[in-house]
C-alpha cells in the first residue's frame, strides 16, 4: 500500500481534472460528489498507510528524475514517515469534511464546479507539500497551495477588492518563498542535495550555531512567515477571508497555513542546531500571537476575528517551535485544525443563515435559530480557549509548559495571549449567539439552520475538537503521550540535542491552574461586557479610544507597508519609467541619434553652391594636406 502512495495525491488531481473540465457539463451533485469522493479516497488510503506504516526509518518512493543538471539531482520523490502520515490524515480528513460541507454551502453558487476543482487542486498540492522527499518537491506543493489560495481568495473575482486580496496573498507568500528558495540553494550548495534523507544526517554532524545552518534556517523561517502568516508578512491572511468560507476553513485555518510549522518540524535538526534562529522564531511567534490577539479583540467581522485568531494560534505554534517543543507545536497544529476548521465552518453556517452578513454588529441571539451551529461552535470556542479537557487545553498547555521551562518572560506573555484568546473568542460567541437579533427583518425571516451536508461535518469536527486532545495527554494527567512517542523518530535528532521536557509535576499543575484560572476570568469578563451589559461594538464612524483605534485598524500594518513599500515602489516605477528610462537612457540614445542630424544641418551649409568657395576649400585642403604630410613626415 505504501508503494501506492502516489495515488493519494492522484485522486484529488483526477478530481480536479474532472471538475475542471466538466464544470459546465456535469450536474452540480455529480461534481460535488466526485470532488468529495476523491478526497475521501485519499483519506482512506492515508488511513491505510497509517495503519500499515511501522518503520522507524522514512520510506522513500522515487517516481522519476525531475531536474538533473550537473551534480544537482532533484528526483520527483515522496517520503513517508510519521510526520507526513499525520499531515496526510489531517489534510485528507479535514479536507473530506470541508468538501462535504461545501457541497451544501456552495450549492447556489454559479462557480460550483470551478470551486470544487480548485479545492481538489489545493488538496493535491498540499499532499505534494507533505509528501515531498526533498525541498524542491515540497516547494512545488508550497507554491501550489499558494496558487490555490490565490485562486480561491479571488474566487469571486468580479469584486475588485477580493481580487486584490488574492493578489496580496500570493505576493506576500512569494516574498517568503524567495527566502525559502535561497535557503534551498544554500542547502544544495552545502549538502550537495536537497533530499531530506541526505541533508539531515549531514546536518546532524555539524556544530550547533554553525553560520551556514543559521542562515539556512533563518531563510527557511522567512519562507514560513509568508505561508504561515507571521510577522511581518501576516496581513494577507485576514484579507484572505474574501474567499468562500470553506476555503478559509480548509486553507487559511487548518492546512495551508500550518505548512510552515510542518516545514520547520520537518527540518527540526537544522533548527535545533541554530539557537539564534530558534530565539528569533520564538520571539516572532509570540509577538505575532499577541498582536493578532489584540487586533482580534476589536474586530467586528466574524471571519476577521477568526482570521486573527488563526494568526495568533499560529504564533503559538511558532512559539512552541522556537523553544524546541516540536511535538507540542505539531500537536497544536492538529487540535487547531479541528477546532479552527469547525469555527470557520460554523461561521460559514451563520453567514449562510444571515444571507451573507458577516458583521457581528448585525447578529445576535442566533442560538435558538441555529442550535447545531451554536453548540458545535461553542465547543470549539471552549477548545480554543484552553479549558480542560477540550483539545486546545492539552496542546496549548504543552506549548506553554515548554516555554515556561525555556523562558519565564515569554511564558507570562504567552499566558496573557491565551487570556486574550479566550476573551475575544467568547466575545465573538456572545455577540453572535446571545442577546437579541440586530439584523434586518428580512434577514430575520430567512434565518434557518443549515442542511445536513453542512451540519454533519460540524458535528464530526466538534467531536474531534472535544476529544482530539487525548492523542497526546501528558503523563502528568495520566496520559500516554501517544503523539510524542509516535513522532519520536522524526524528532529524534533534535530531542537528543535539546533534551526532553523536564518539569516537575507540581510545576505543571501550577501552570495549568494559572492558565485555566485566567481563562475563566477572561470569559467572565467577556460575559459581563457582552451579555450582561449587551455591549455592541460601535460603528465605524464613531470615535474610538486611541488603543482601540490601533487595534481596530490592525496596528496600521497595511498603511505602514503601503507607505514604506508599495507607494515608494510605485513612485520608483514611475520615476524609472519616465525619468530614468524615457528621459535618461532613451534620452541619451536619442541624443546620440540627434547629434548627427544636428551636425547635418550645419554640414550641409558648407555646400554653399558657390564655386569660389569650393575652390577656396580645395586650396585650403591642398595646403593642409601638404603641410600635414610633411609635418607628420
Amino acid at each position: 500500500m505504501i508503494d501506492l502512495v502516489w495515488l493519494i495525491p492522484l485522486f484529488p488531481f483526477i478530481g480536479f481534472l474532472i471538475c475542471g473540465v466538466g464544470r459546465n457539463v456535469l450536474p452540480k451533485a455529480v461534481l460535488g460528489t466526485i470532488a468529495s469522493l476523491a478526497v475521501i479516497a485519499s483519506f482512506s488510503f492515508s488511513l491505510g498507510i497509517f495503519f500499515e506504516f511501522n518503520s522507524v526509518e522514512p520510506v522513500i518512493i522515487n517516481l522519476f528524475d525531475w531536474i538533473k543538471v550537473g551534480n544537482v539531482n532533484i528526483p520527483f520523490a515522496f517520503q513517508i514517515d510519521q510526520l507526513s502520515i499525520l499531515m496526510l490524515l489531517i489534510i485528507t480528513g479535514i479536507g473530506s469534511l470541508i468538501h462535504i460541507y461545501s457541497t451544501g454551502y456552495m450549492k447556489t453558487d454559479a462557480g460550483y464546479g470551478k470551486f470544487f476543482s480548485y479545492l481538489n487542486l489545493f488538496v493535491f498540492f498540499m499532499l505534494l507539500l507533505v509528501l515531498g522527499a526533498n525541498y524542491i518537491v515540497m516547494f512545488i506543493g508550497w507554491e501550489g497551495v499558494g496558487l490555490c489560495s490565490y485562486l480561491l481568495i479571488g474566487f469571486w473575482f468580479t469584486n475588485g477588492a477580493f481580487a486584490d486580496a488574492a493578489k496580496k496573498a500570493f505576493i506576500m507568500n512569494r516574498i517568503g518563498d524567495l527566502g525559502f528558495l535561497i535557503a534551498v540553494f544554500i542547502i544544495i550548495a552545502t549538502f550537495g542535495s536537497a533530499t531530506f534523507t541526505d541533508v539531515f544526517p549531514k546536518a546532524q554532524g555539524m556544530v550547533s550555531g554553525d553560520t551556514t545552518l543559521t542562515l539556512i534556517t533563518i531563510l527557511l523561517f522567512v519562507g514560513t512567515t509568508g505561508k504561515s502568516a507571521q510577522l511581518p508578512l501576516f496581513t494577507w491572511l485576514p484579507d484572505a477571508m474574501a474567499g468562500p468560507t470553506p476555503v478559509s476553513a480548509l486553507i487559511h485555518a487548518a492546512t495551508m497555513v500550518t505548512a510552515g510549522i510542518y516545514m520547520i518540524a520537518r527540518s527540526n535538526i537544522m533548527f535545533s542546531l541554530s539557537p539564534i534562529t530558534m530565539s528569533i522564531i520564538a520571539v516572532i511567534g509570540l509577538a505575532t500571537a499577541i498582536i493578532a490577539a489584540i487586533i482580534a479583540i476589536t474586530q467586528t467581522d466574524i471571519k476577521k476575528v477568526l482570521a486573527y485568531s488563526t494568526v495568533s494560534q499560529l504564533g503559538y505554534m511558532f512559539l512552541g517551535l522556537g523553544v524546541g517543543a516540536y511535538t507540542a507545536a505539531f500537536f497544536h497544529v492538529i487540535t487547531h485544525a479541528f477546532f479552527k476548521a469547525l469555527l470557520f465552518l460554523g461561521a460559514g453556517s451563520v453567514i449562510h443563515a444571515m444571507s451573507n452578513e458577516q458583521d457581528m454588529r448585525n447578529m445576535g441571539g442566533l442560538k435558538k435559530k441555529l442550535p447545531i451551529t451554536f453548540i458545535t461552535m461553542l465547543l470549539a470556542t471552549i477548545a480554543i480557549s484552553g479549558l480542560p479537557p477540550f483539545s486546545g487545553f492539552f496542546s496549548k498547555d504543552e506549548i506553554l509548559a515548554n516555554v515556561f521551562e525555556h523562558n519565564k518572560v515569554l511564558w507570562i506573555i504567552g499566558v496573557l495571549g491565551a487570556l486574550l484568546t479566550a476573551f475575544y473568542m467568547f466575545r465573538m460567541m456572545f455577540l453572535t449567539f446571545w442577546g437579541s437579533f440586530r439584523g434586518t427583518t428580512e434577514q430575520k425571516s430567512h434565518l434557518h439552520e443549515s442542511p445536513f451536508s453542512m451540519t454533519i461535518p460540524l458535528i464530526i469536527l466538534a467531536i474531534l475538537s472535544v476529544v482530539g486532545g487525548f492523542i497526546n495527554v501528558p503523563e502528568v494527567l495520566g496520559g500516554g503521550h501517544w503523539l510524542a512517542s509516535y513522532l519520536a523518530p522524526v524528532f529524534e535528532g533534535s530531542t537528543s540535542r535539546l533534551g526532553e521536557l523536564a518539569l516537575s509535576h507540581s510545576t505543571e499543575y501550577m501552570l495549568m491552574g494559572i492558565s485555566v484560572g485566567g481563562v475563566i476570568i477572561a470569559i467572565g469578563f467577556a460575559y459581563f461586557k457582552y451579555v450582561k451589559n449587551a455591549h455592541v461594538p460601535i460603528s465605524d464612524s464613531e470615535n474610538r479610544s486611541a488603543l482601540a483605534k490601533i487595534s481596530y485598524n490592525k496596528f496600521y500594518f497595511d498603511e505602514f507597508y503601503a507607505a514604506i513599500i508599495t507607494k515608494p515602489l510605485d513612485a520608483l516605477s514611475v520615476f524609472f519609467y519616465k525619468v530614468v528610462d524615457k528621459a535618461g537612457i532613451d534620452g541619451i540614445v536619442n541624443g546620440v541619434a540627434k547629434a548627427p542630424i544636428e551636425a547635418s544641418k550645419g554640414f550641409r551649409l558648407l555646400q554653399t553652391g558657390n564655386v569660389g568657395f569650393y575652390i577656396f576649400a580645395m586650396v585650403v585642403g591642398v595646403v593642409v594636406v601638404l603641410a600635414y604630410s610633411f609635418f607628420k613626415f
Binding site: I67, Y150, G160, K167, L178, F185, L569, D570, Y577
Partner: protein
C-alpha cells in the same frame, strides 16, 4: 545534407507563400510544420552526447577562408527546436486576423525563420553574421509595415540600434579571423586562439554589445518596449520569443568560449548589468499602462535573469538559460498572443480601460492564467525549472546576486497578477461587455502553449538532457583555458 534542407526549406516555403497568394496563411503554416517535421526527424536521430552532428561544410568564399559550415550539437538542437516549434504557432496566431498583403507577411516570417536557423546552427563566423543580419531585415519590415501608429520611428530606432551592435561584432569577427593561423572563420579556430588579455578585453565588448542589444540587457534596452508595443503581434512574438534568444545563444556560443579571458575581466560588470536589468525592468513594469509594453518590460526582466545565468558560466546557470530560453519563448509568445486577442477585440492597449473579461471569457482566462503562472515561475510550470536553475547558478556565483535576482519571482508576481487582475478580474465595463471568448485557431494555439507550459514544467528532464553534454563540454573547455 539533411541540415541544408532544414535551413533552406523555409525559404522554399517563403517562395511558395508568395506564389500562392490566396492561401498564404495555410501555405505558410504547412511549410512551417514541415520544417518542424524535419527538425523532429533530426531530433530522433540526434545523439546528445555525440557533439556536433549533421555537419555541412561547403566551400563558400574560399579565398577568404569562409565556408558554409553548420552543424547541430545539443545547444543548437534546442534552439532549432525552439525556432521550428514556435514559428508554426506564430503563423497560427495570425489565422483569425486580417492583414494587408498577407503573403508578403508570411513570406517574411518564413524568410526570417531561415535566418534564425542559420544563426543557431552556424559553425562559421561569417555564416553566423550573415544569418544574424538576415533575420533582422524581415523583422524590420514586419514591424514597420504591419505595425502600429508610431511604427516608423520606433522600428528605425530598433534597426539602427541592433545594426550598430552587430557591426561591432563584425569588427570582432574579422579581427579574430585575421588572428587565426589559417585565416579562417571556423569557430573551432576561434576557440583555439589564445590572445592576450587586453585584446580579449575589447573583443569582449565588440561581441557583448551586439548580443546585449539583441537581448536586450540594461542599459541597451530602450528600443525594445516601444518596438514590442508597436510591432504587429506576429512581429512581437518573433522578436521576443525567438529573436532575442539569438543574443543569449551568441553569448554562450560566440562570446564566452571565444574570448574567455575577456569574459573573465568583464564578467562581474556584465552580471551586474543583467541583475540591474531584472530589478529595473520589473519595477518599471509595475505601473505600465500599456499591456504590450508591460509584457515587454517583463521580458527584459526575464531575459536579464537568463543572461545572468549564462554569465555565471556554471552548469546550472547555463543549462537553466538553455531551458529558460525555450520556456521564455513559449511563455512570452503565449502572453503576447493573449494580449493580441484582447487588443484585437477591444481595439485598445490601455490596461485601465479593461476589466472583468474572465467573467465572459473563461477559456481565455484559464489560458492566460496558466501562461502567466509559467511566467511567474510557479513550480510544475516550465518557468520554474528555468528560474530555479538560473538562480541556483547565480547563487553559486554570489549569494547577494542571487538574492537580488531572485526578486524577480516576487516582482513578476506583482506586475503580472496586477495585469491579470486589471484585465481579467473586476467588473465588466461598456468596452469589455461585448468581449467574445476565444475560438477556433486561438483555442488550438493557446492549448498548445498551455500544454507546453505544463509538460515542460512537470517533466523537463528530456529537454535538459538534449543540451546537457554540449553545455558541460563547452564549460569544461573554457574553464580549462582559464585554468593556466
Amino acid at each position: 545534407m539533411n541540415l541544408l534542407i532544414l535551413l533552406f526549406f523555409p525559404l522554399v516555403g517563403s517562395i511558395a507563400v508568395l506564389l500562392n497568394k490566396n492561401y498564404a496563411k495555410q501555405t505558410a503554416l504547412i511549410s512551417s510544420i514541415i520544417t518542424l517535421g524535419f527538425a523532429v526527424t533530426m531530433l530522433c536521430n540526434f545523439l546528445p552526447e555525440a557533439g556536433k552532428q549533421f555537419v555541412v561544410d561547403l566551400p563558400w568564399i574560399p579565398q577568404l577562408g569562409i565556408s558554409f559550415k553548420a552543424g547541430i550539437d545539443g545547444i543548437s538542437m534546442l534552439m532549432v527546436l525552439l525556432t521550428t516549434g514556435l514559428v508554426p504557432l506564430i503563423i497560427l496566431s495570425g489565422f483569425q486576423r486580417t492583414f494587408k498583403n498577407p503573403s508578403a507577411l508570411f513570406a517574411l516570417v518564413l524568410f526570417m525563420q531561415s535566418g534564425l536557423l542559420v544563426v543557431f546552427t552556424a559553425s562559421d563566423a561569417f555564416l553566423f553574421y550573415v544569418g544574424w543580419e538576415a533575420s533582422l531585415i524581415p523583422i524590420y519590415f514586419i514591424a514597420a509595415i504591419w505595425g502600429g501608429a508610431d511604427r516608423i520611428k520606433v522600428t528605425m530606432k530598433f534597426f539602427i540600434y541592433t545594426f550598430a551592435g552587430s557591426l561591432f561584432m563584425l569588427l570582432g569577427i574579422i579581427y579574430l579571423h585575421l588572428q587565426t593561423p589559417g585565416n579562417t572563420y571556423d569557430i573551432e579556430a576561434f576557440y583555439a586562439l589564445s590572445l592576450d588579455s587586453a585584446t580579449q578585453g575589447w573583443l569582449f565588448w565588440c561581441f557583448f554589445i551586439a548580443f546585449a542589444v539583441k537581448m536586450p540587457v540594461f542599459p541597451f534596452h530602450t528600443w525594445q518596449p516601444n518596438t514590442y508595443a508597436e510591432s504587429p503581434t506576429i512581429g512581437t512574438m518573433l522578436l521576443a520569443a525567438i529573436m532575442l534568444k539569438m543574443g543569449i545563444y551568441g553569448v554562450i556560443r560566440w562570446l564566452i568560449p571565444v574570448v574567455p579571458i575577456g569574459f573573465l575581466q568583464w564578467k562581474e560588470l556584465a552580471l551586474i548589468l543583467c541583475i540591474i536589468g531584472i530589478v529595473y525592468a520589473s519595477i518599471i513594469a509595475f505601473k505600465q499602462k500599456d499591456i504590450k509594453r508591460l509584457i515587454a518590460y517583463s521580458s527584459i526582466a526575464h531575459v536579464g535573469l537568463i543572461a545572468a545565468g549564462v554569465f555565471t558560466w556554471n552548469v546550472q546557470g547555463v543549462q537553466g538559460a538553455m531551458i529558460q530560453m525555450i520556456n521564455h519563448g513559449i511563455n512570452v509568445l503565449g502572453l503576447f498572443f493573449v494580449a493580441d486577442i484582447i487588443i484585437d477585440r477591444l481595439k485598445t492597449r490601455e490596461i485601465a480601460s479593461m476589466g472583468g473579461i474572465a467573467k465572459i471569457a473563461p477559456k481565455l482566462s484559464i489560458a492566460f492564467l496558466i501562461i502567466l503562472l509559467g511566467a511567474v515561475a510557479l513550480p510544475l510550470t516550465n518557468g520554474f525549472i528555468g528560474e530555479f536553475l538560473l538562480l541556483l547558478g547565480v547563487y553559486k556565483f554570489n549569494i547577494w546576486a542571487a538574492g537580488i535576482a531572485g526578486l524577480t519571482i516576487i516582482f513578476a508576481a506583482v506586475y503580472l497578477l496586477r495585469l491579470y487582475k486589471d484585465v481579467m478580474q473586476g467588473t465588466l465595463n461598456d468596452l469589455t461587455a461585448s468581449f467574445k471568448d476565444i475560438k477556433g485557431s486561438e483555442v488550438v494555439l493557446l492549448s498548445i502553449v498551455c500544454a507546453l507550459v505544463i509538460i515542460i514544467g512537470v517533466y523537463p528532464q528530456p529537454v535538459l538532457h538534449i543540451s546537457e553534454s554540449a553545455v558541460t563540454e563547452l564549460i569544461g573547455q573554457v574553464n580549462s583555458k582559464l585554468a593556466f
